[in-house]
Symmetry: C2
Subunit: 194 residues, 2 copies
Amino acid sequence: MPRPREFEPDAVVDQAMLRFWWRGYRATSIEDLVKATGVKPGSLYSAFPGGKHALFLKSLERYSKLIVPQKLGELAAPGASLAALRGYFDGLVQDLLSPEGRQGCLLVNTAIENAAEDDEAAAVVRGHLARLEQCMTTALRNARGAGEVRASVDPAGHAKVLVATCQGLMVVGKANPDATVLRAIVDNAFAVLV
Amino acid sequence: MPRPREFEPDAVVDQAMLRFWWRGYRATSIEDLVKATGVKPGSLYSAFPGGKHALFLKSLERYSKLIVPQKLGELAAPGASLAALRGYFDGLVQDLLSPEGRQGCLLVNTAIENAAEDDEAAAVVRGHLARLEQCMTTALRNARGAGEVRASVDPAGHAKVLVATCQGLMVVGKANPDATVLRAIVDNAFAVLV
DNA sequence: CTTGTTCTTGAATGGTTGCTCATGTATGTT
DNA sequence: AACATACATGAGCAACCATTCAAGAACAAG
């Protein structure tokens, strides 16, 4: 019997995610979201109790479930090997060099901007890092089994390094989106494995 | 004949640097700086034409000249070798684990928060990355000469990787300031060199 | 002491922030 | 047709933002 909702909450989260991704949490205002979605403040706040912060957490989760798997690609597969791992890094570089990908990774941005003051956001970031590390461990283990990397490389240990390296790649890419620089980082990160 | 200034502009920049370091550019208000320094808005704006943004750029430069060399330590010396390089990473980890160092690196934070929208800030960050890379190149070259790292490691190339790795270390440390995790990253980053 | 110059002060500016709430509206049931 | 329910609307709130400015104050030169 109630009046039906005239907008799709998921679409609002999608738009919010994009804004937070591009501009960050603090720089994104409710008015931005109102303009982007056409949903007025009152409706926004009744649909998302907890306001801007709740919407932000939902955006992080949506990013984790929608964007991250897409970026992981073959790296998420159990059979992922060195090529998939390299493909992931190449994809990152390609993104950072394209106008549509310059914003880097929402979760990396969040780690820097919010993790210190927002435990819930930090927890989502930690979950992402853990998943990334697990994918990379698997890929490195497979690669070592196939003789694609030196036997002295510890898959679980070096996966942690690669996680840090790709986070750092995004930091460098933000300040210096230069193809030569970014490709050199990836080339040398892999050169040391063989 | 003019009335003398009652505050030290450099001290204001120091305070501003600390605030921007801890809370970021957007989250730091002029009122914060007024409270921290005791200097009233009018004096602030007349001493620093360009307002908040100019003060931010001065803070970045001050950080580069004051904090960075202190963190680099022996790594900045021409004779720096593997121990100095390792010492730099260990220092980063120690900082990230201490309450006074959790804020990470002002320039990394700036890369993420401002580089995309602030070319002047991005330029300072790029300068920092270049200096870091140069120090690491030298250290790696010395280390290779001394037989501390494998001959197949390219100093200039792998320095780029280490720069990215230490930026990433700071991202991971912000979301997950865990001694085991951070030390494992450093251990494995160096294990692969020998 | 007067004057010129630069400083300090803090109230005030106009704008933005996240958020709320009274009012009106569309619906399914009765 | 009347009602209960949840929704849509957008003006409005207090707080905060970066910034400006008129007024007064401290100094050195004359």
